[in-house]
């Protein structure tokens, strides 16, 4: 049995990675497990994501305390010193009580020792079993010993025990003896687990189960995931758009939405949420790749563009890229006459039947309705990420993962278990800049492998000739414990202050450099690892090989010699937060931080807590908010500043100073470590549809309020008309407010229940009931609410004739005009953000064209802003439902905890530095810095770097014409020296 104080995160997709990093960054130890042999979940197969159509997974990497991990592409791997990763591992059972769980896990051996595998692939060529490769969605074959994802690091193979015949050919072929065919799964019992997070994601629907789409029968019908592989440059056709059956270049592609979703016949009374945008993205990428001959069409029921930026993205796809959106659920897919193309029958907007052939059909498969969470997910102390309940887009998954980490972290810290001791390691090294550079080179000979293939005498001789003090040592195998110990013993006895490790895959060693540094006193930034083996593998002749190795060595030597580290900047963290806005999101964030013992100053513009929403919520949500308000008001660590506003703010993450003004007069300065903006929004106003010209024409929000009144009445035979998307989803307010459809549906259901004889009609463009809220749409139809779709060219019209309200429109289904005399018209006007221009300029942030405060990255860092230490949540950022806003509040608090849980902010190794003597103050660097990590110090007339926010990305250095700004460890002398060596 293993005593463990690690929080267990189950499932290493993006949610799991987010949760694990959230906890690791706040000082928890985490064990991240996944039943697959590789990390990344479904995202490992996707190369492109909305909105910029690139992958941005790395944006989830830690941005403060970066030296605790490795800054690599997260699709390749995750390296953080607080995170242990166990792959091919599943949970068998969870026992015990919240805070002290006993978890039994079963781990299948990978069959290949990662420390020894060099990735040479000899094993693969010997294996005679060949099956279809899951990663490439079946477009390629793989062996029983294989690489689960092509880009993973380290790229060692694993054995698929389900297909392996245990013949031993691979074991015999392995040059480093790294293969072990003992496939007995190991059962581990982990005790004292403080919390478990379930982030397993959901299973996708298998369209092969139904006979409608020809999936499995027609080779040119593929799933959206498979199409993602076709798009990928690491895919079956190197990113060229060919089709599987005959390699024909694709031109006409159809996307079929709602495959396995929104279908009560298979038990899928839900929307899978992400597929609409997924399809638009794929169609857009495909259209771009194909060029002007592209003919792409998306067959849909409702285009669920409910995110803040989705509608404009879709509009561009339609207008600029010419993607056709056809509102018709496809019945079935058939082979076309030539048997290669496929035939899709559908009805166009006028109801005419059309048979159209396509080169290929892509099925937008959603969540498998049969998928269920394991029983232990409902245990106390086990927290389930929402993305493990239903299919979600990246933003939703990332936020829900942070919510789960917040809950888990809160439960653990309440139990009194302390966070990790901060920075036990040595921080300050002897002032090496004063010492003469002295370099120790350790050459690993990889057993006896490298001995005969390199001219060692020449290497030794030439290295001796190089300027500077260099010691050289050869060690047989530093990857095994003996070699490692031997090296440490030797390093302890040298006076060297720089280390060059020439071995194999540097990524295996980089995570261990910190340990090495603690043991030897050499600074991590004065160590380098180079890959000797790969150089040897690439060249054929002895002299050439030796030359290549020498060249590489000299490059590193020059870099190391010219590197002069400076002491890291550090300052204490103020353990308190400023939260602006006391709506659902702000209140939730305040509680999240206060229960973790951090002081909170809550600044609210109005005199009342609870936000605008308290006027317009359903009774249930109102109660939730009321409870929240009471909790906040009574919390000793929360100070409320009502009728107050922020007038000035400056500082760095961990140490901000903000001036606020209360009641229009009293000014006060607050010192705080983080800022959370939850500025909220309000109901949009309208003048459309004769609003206010008759008191029976109301907004949806007003109707909701009236429905709560005891004296509300319409005639029992009343005709009630709802109009959705009023002034929304078209310029200038071209976004979906996300809340109106659900509100209209609920109000319509209430009306139908109270007045069973009433006629309730809803004019809509697309019903936005994503996720399980689809059930409300189904219920509304079951209750007899009638839905009439309209489009922008054909909006309904409202007019008043001698006091009677007449609503005209047309029913595209029957292709007939409709004409109602309405007793009540409800206009879904949507929401707009509260004006935030002042705040945005005070905090140096950006807004969208609609005035929402813009986040750092809408998918991967949804609650961060461009400035570290300042977070954003709720309607001020994007339209959201009350529960979503509260989730964002929690997620923002979790992000803030990364800073608040530290005593000091310490700059990472690679950050930018300004050499003021050279600086012309042109401010180019400030313009180009993507992290807002630079500011002008007007007093000193200097450009300064915020070392906590600086990510060392180097954009400033690239923009600076005369290298007045440089990146620590990448000074020109070293780089030019390395180039010199390479020439």
């Amino acid at each position: 049995m293993i005593k463990n104080t690690k929080i267990l995160v189950v499932g290493a997709g993006i949610s799991g990675i987010r949760s694990a990093l959230d906890l690791a960054e706040t000082g928890h130890r985490v064990c991240l497990i996944d039943k697959a042999p590789a990390m990344g979940g479904i995202l490992s197969q996707l190369d492109h994501q909305f909105p910029d159509n690139h992958c941005g997974m790395c944006r989830m990497l830690p941005m403060i305390d970066r030296d605790n991990g490795q800054q690599f592409c997260l699709r390749k791997g995750l390296f953080h010193e607080n995170i242990e990763i166990l792959l091919s591992t599943e949970i068998i059972s969870i026992e015990g009580n919240a805070g002290n769980l006993t978890v039994t896990i079963s781990r299948r051996p990978q069959g290949v020792d990662p420390d020894r595998c060099t990735g040479c692939r000899d094993c693969e060529s010997e294996c005679n079993i060949e099956i279809s490769d899951e990663f490439s969605a079946g477009f390629r074959k793989r062996k029983a010993i294989y690489l689960p994802t092509p880009h993973q690091i380290p790229n060692q193979r694993v054995i698929d025990w389900d297909t392996c015949s245990l013949c031993g050919a691979c074991r015999d072929a392995c040059p480093t003896g790294s293969i072990d065919l003992d496939n007995q799964p190991e059962t581990l019992v982990l005790e004292n687990i403080p919390a478990v997070i379930i982030s397993t994601g959901v299973e996708l629907y298998d369209p092969g189960h139904v006979d409608l789409y020809g999936f499995g029968h027609l080779p040119n019908v593929v799933t959206a995931t498979a199409f993602e592989r076709i798009l990928s440059s690491s895919g079956p056709y190197q990113g060229r758009l060919f089709r599987p059956s005959d390699g024909k270049a694709l031109k006409k592609i159809a996307w079929i939405q709602c495959v396995g979703s929104r279908n009560i016949m298979i038990g899928a009374d839900y929307c899978s949420t992400a597929c609409c945008m997924f399809a638009v993205k794929e169609a857009l990428l495909a259209s771009r790749k194909i060029g002007k001959d592209a003919r792409t069409a998306i067959f849909y029921m409702d285009m669920r563009t409910f995110g803040r930026d989705f509608q404009r993205y879709k509009d561009r796809a339609e207008k600029d890229a010419g993607i056709r959106f056809v509102r018709c659920r496809v019945h079935s897919i058939e082979p076309a006459e030539n048997d290669k193309d496929i035939l899709i029958s559908y009805i166009d907007s006028s109801g005419n039947p059309i048979d159209e052939t396509f080169d290929m059909a892509v099925l937008s498969t959603g969540k498998n309705p049969e998928f269920q969470l394991p029983e232990f997910a409902s245990r106390e102390g086990v927290f389930t990420v929402n993305s493990a309940r239903g299919f979600m887009d990246i933003q939703g998954a990332v936020i829900s993962a942070s919510v789960a980490s917040e809950k888990a972290g809160r439960s653990v810290s309440k139990k009194g278990s302390a966070l990790l001791q901060q920075r036990p390691e040595k921080l300050y090294f002897d002032a090496v800049c004063e010492e003469k550079p002295q370099l120790q080179i350790v050459l690993c000979t990889c057993g006896d492998f490298l001995k005969p293939v390199l001219d060692w005498d020449r290497i030794k001789a030439e290295l001796k000739n190089m300027p500077g003090r260099i010691e050289i040592a050869r060690i047989k195998m530093i990857c095994d414990q003996n070699g490692w110990d031997e090296m440490i013993a030797m390093l302890r006895n040298t006076t060297a202050n720089r280390l060059l490790l020439a071995a194999c895959n540097p990524l295996v060693y980089l995570p261990r450099l910190k340990e090495l540094s603690q043991e030897t006193g050499i600074m991590p930034s004065l160590m380098e690892v180079i890959n000797l083996r790969s150089m040897v593998d690439q060249a054929t002749d002895l002299a050439f090989r030796t030359r290549a190795v020498l060249c590489e060595l000299e490059m590193s030597i020059r870099r190391l010699f010219s590197h002069n580290p400076v002491e890291p900047a550090l300052y204490p963290v103020s353990k308190s937060a400023l939260i602006v806005g006391a709506g659902p999101a702000g209140l939730t964030a305040a509680i999240s931080l206060a229960v973790r013992d951090f002081k909170v100053s809550l600044v609210e513009k109005t005199s009342r807590l609870g936000g605008n929403w308290s006027n317009i919520q359903s009774a249930e949500s109102r109660e939730t908010i009321r409870t929240l308000v009471t909790e906040v008001e009574n919390h000793p660590l929360i100070t409320i500043h009502s009728e107050a506003e922020v007038i000035q703010s400056f500082g760095n993450p961990g140490r901000f100073v903000t001036r606020i003004r209360s009641n229009n007069k009293d000014e006060k300065s607050l010192l705080h470590g983080v800022t959370i903006l939850a500025t909220g929004g309000r109901a949009a106003e309208t003048t459309a549809y004769s609003y206010r010209k008759n008191n029976k024409i109301t907004t949806l929000f007003e109707l909701e309020e009236r429905l709560q009144q005891p004296d509300f009445a319409v005639g029992s035979n009343a005709t009630i008309v709802f109009i959705q998307c009023v002034d929304s989803r078209e310029e200038p307010r071209n976004y979906c407010s996300r809340i109106c459809c659900l509100k209209s549906l609920k109000a319509a259901i209430t009306l139908r229940e109270v007045y069973p004889q009433s006629q309730v009609y809803i004019f809509y463009r697309d019903i936005m009931t994503y996720g399980n809220s689809e059930q409300v749409y189904t219920q509304a139809r079951r209750k007899g609410v009638m839905f009439i779709p309209y489009d922008l060219e054909n909006k309904p019209r409202v007019r008043i004739e001698s006091g009677r309200i007449m609503v005209e429109g047309s029913d595209p289904v029957l292709d007939e005009p409709v004409f109602f005399e309405a007793d009540l018209v409800a206009l879904a006007t949507g929401i707009v953000p509260n004006p935030a221009a002042d705040l945005v300029s005070i905090f140096n942030l950006k807004t969208t064209c609609d005035g929402f405060i813009r986040e750092a990255d809408s998918k991967w860092r949804p609650v961060d802003t461009g400035r570290e230490g300042i977070f954003i949540c709720g309607v001020g950022r994007s339209p959201s439902r009350a529960n979503e806003a509260m989730d964002e509040g929690k997620a923002a608090a979790q992000r803030a905890l990364r800073i608040l849980s530290k005593d000091t902010m310490i700059a990472s190794r690679h950050t930018a530095r300004v050499r003021h003597v050279f600086c012309s103050l042109c401010e180019t660097c400030m313009h180009v810095c993507p992290h807002g990590a630079r500011y002008m110090d007007f007093e000193l007339q200097r450009v300064q770097v915020d070392h906590a926010a600086c990510q060392g990305c180097g954009v400033c250095a690239a923009g600076c014409p005369n290298s007045a700004t440089i990146i620590e460890s990448f000074e020109e002398n070293g780089i030019m020296g390395a180039i010199e060596a390479a020439l």
Partner: protein, 235 residues
């Protein structure tokens, strides 16, 4: 002045049985699946989606008075893919059943009436029927291997009651023998009733539940009378 649009209760909806999943017509989201899958969509104004919409609006008479219900083969392909499980074929059948009987097109209702009166949709008397089948049976007996073949009419205690499609008796006599051959070689204990041998239930087509029940009832009666355990029914 335009006509005010109103929704009325639909009798068709009430009469069309629900599918096992219990989903009424109301669940329709006008997604177009049915219309996309139906080979008849667009022909003479036929469109299953529109039909469902009419029923949803309670505009039953428009459907009943049209020929649309009679164009449909009630094949069920539309509802096979309907995500809401709306039983469109049953809507059609219910609508057909509400058509005044004399307005039922073609021979369907005539057949039903004849069937009710005579026991078969052709109105063929029993002796003529027995004559025809025995004549065909005698012909078969001349074929090698079937020399001892004889048609068992109204045989009590037989294992299997064989009913016939009227078109085989009427025009396509040559197709009568296939089953007989099989029965003969399989040494089946079978019989054909001289009365009510009709194996086609046109009540199904006309939407006439009462007639349908009568037809079935007669056959069951037969089986009880002749003490026969199994039935061979061509449709």
């Amino acid at each position: 002045m335009e006509t005010i649009t109103k929704r009325y209760p639909s009798v068709i909806k009430e009469q069309a049985p629900l599918r096992p999943i219990n989903s009424p017509v109301d669940l329709c989201m006008a997604c177009g699946t049915c219309a996309a899958g139906c080979p008849l969509t667009g022909t003479k104004g036929f469109d299953p989606r529109k039909i469902v919409r009419l029923v949803l609006m309670g505009r039953d008479s428009e459907l009943i008075d049209s020929k649309l219900p009679w164009l449909c083969t009630m094949c069920g392909k539309c509802e096979h893919a309907c995500p809401m499980g709306i039983n469109i074929a049953n809507l059609i059948r219910a609508a057909r059943g509400m058509v005044e009987r004399e307005k039922v097109p073609g021979m369907i209702h005539k057949g039903v009436e004849l069937g009710l009166k005579t026991g078969n949709n052709l109105g063929l008397p029993a002796e003529d029927f027995v004559f025809i089948i025995e004549d065909v049976g005698a012909e078969l007996a001349e074929t090698p291997g079937f020399s001892d073949f004889k048609i068992p009419v109204d045989k009590k205690g037989a294992n299997l009651l064989h009913t016939l499609h009227n078109k085989l008796v009427n025009t396509q006599n040559e197709d009568l023998v296939h089953w007989w051959k099989i029965f003969h070689l399989a040494q089946e204990d079978w019989t054909i009733p001289s009365q009510n041998w009709e194996g086609v239930n046109w009540g199904l087509f006309s939407g006439d539940d009462d007639a349908m029940k009568t037809f079935i009832g007669r056959i069951v009666e037969h089986m009880e009378q002749l003490n026969i355990s199994s039935l061979m029914y061509p449709e």
